[in-house]
């Protein structure tokens, strides 16, 4: 199979070609920043961008080990997912053991004065943001990749290192939970979920 342009760039980056790496970053950084922003939840754009920088620094280090069977986009988003999960775990560890630190979610949360103000003022967007941020990691990654980045089930499975049927299940649970969290779907408007689905042990 012929290699994609992305793959050629990443292979060249793996051999130390910084120009090639720069082109790759230019192509993918916006998507990675947006992914981090949505995955991390209640943080400002700067925190998401910082993490995206770390993702690409890791990508540059890992580039020599890249093997071109995998799509570059999938490879990058796996690094990004790892980084986001680790970041959230770090915040959680700090909260639990009281190490504190400036990276706590609350400390980097958006305020009304920043570039995120419009998102905050958009009440609907804010409730979706909170609901997506409240999903468990796997579900959150699946819904963000599917809905906002248009990844196929197979691509999501590759990113999360799982099966396509597991992705179906993650998306199903994510959507069910989002419906239960969003004001637009409050009780009274909620559909009856099949009893055997409710009982299904996930």
């Amino acid at each position: 199979m012929p290699r994609s342009e992305d793959q050629e760039l990443l292979l060249r980056a793996g051999k130390g070609d910084r120009g090639a790496f720069g082109l790759l970053v230019e192509r993918h950084h916006e998507a990675v920043v947006r992914f981090c922003y949505r995955f991390l939840g209640r943080v400002g754009c700067d925190a998401a961008e910082d993490l995206a920088q770390d993702v690409f620094l890791s990508a540059f280090k890992a580039a020599p080990y890249y093997q071109p069977q995998a799509a570059v986009r999938t490879w990058l988003f796996r690094l990004a997912t790892n980084a986001c999960l680790n970041q959230r775990r770090k915040w959680r560890v700090r909260r639990v053991i009281g190490l504190g630190g400036s990276e706590r979610m609350e400390d980097v949360a958006m305020d009304d004065s920043g570039a995120d103000a419009s998102a905050l003022r958009n009440e609907k967007g804010a409730s979706v943001r909170a609901a997506v941020g409240g999903l468990p990691g796997g579900q959150r990654a699946a819904i963000v990749l599917r809905h906002y980045h248009d990844f196929s089930y197979t691509e999501i499975a590759d990113v999360l290192d799982t099966s396509v049927s597991a992705v179906e299940s993650l998306l199903f649970r994510a959507r069910r939970k989002l419906r239960s969290q969003l004001p637009a779907f409050e009780i009274g408007n909620s559909p009856q979920v099949s009893a055997d689905l409710r009982a299904e042990p996930f």
Binding site: E30, Q53, Y65, G125, V128, A141
Partner: protein, 153 residues
């Protein structure tokens, strides 16, 4: 078709086309089942709700900033030294001790079956060992994180 199957297919149908036969079966089921009809309508509506979550504009110069950092030694995270926690009030010390004893670990996970993508894991065919050392972070937190279960929240 039972509601269970119909509702699973309704969820899949949002993302990709079903086969003609399945599409026909779902459509027939929806014509007769109000509950699944509601689920179908609300699934479509959820997509529109999700669209309202936009991201703020991204600052320019991302690539330039990154390229200037490629030679930076990777200092993972700045954390207080371990002894700083010992000097803090008792609850913190107890928390740290409990963590060290593995008491906190069960409290951290909720027993959910999350996908975990460990950092050192094989990435797209790269060897796990190579990557693990390539991406290893020499920090207190990285070591603490190794103690955490591979579930999130």
């Amino acid at each position: 078709m039972r509601c269970r199957k119909a509702q699973k297919l309704i969820a899949v149908r949002v993302d990709r086309a079903l086969s003609e036969t399945l599409e026909e079966q779902v459509t027939r089921h929806l014509a007769d089942c109000r509950a699944c009809g509601d689920v179908s309508a609300q699934t479509g509506r959820l997509g529109r709700e999700l669209d309202t979550y936009s991201t703020p504009p991204i600052r320019g110069g991302f690539t330039e900033r990154l390229m200037s950092r490629l030679d930076e030694p990777r200092v993972a995270v700045t954390v207080s030294p371990w002894w700083a926690a010992v000097l803090r009030p008792a609850p913190v010390v107890l928390g740290a001790a409990a963590f060290a004893c593995g008491v906190v670990v069960p409290l951290l996970g909720n027993g959910g079956s999350q996908i975990a993508v460990p950092l050192g894991r094989e990435v797209a065919g790269g060897s796990a060992g190579q990557l693990a050392s390539a991406l290893a972070e020499d920090s207190v937190e990285a070591r603490l994180l190794e103690l955490l279960p591979s579930v999130e929240e």
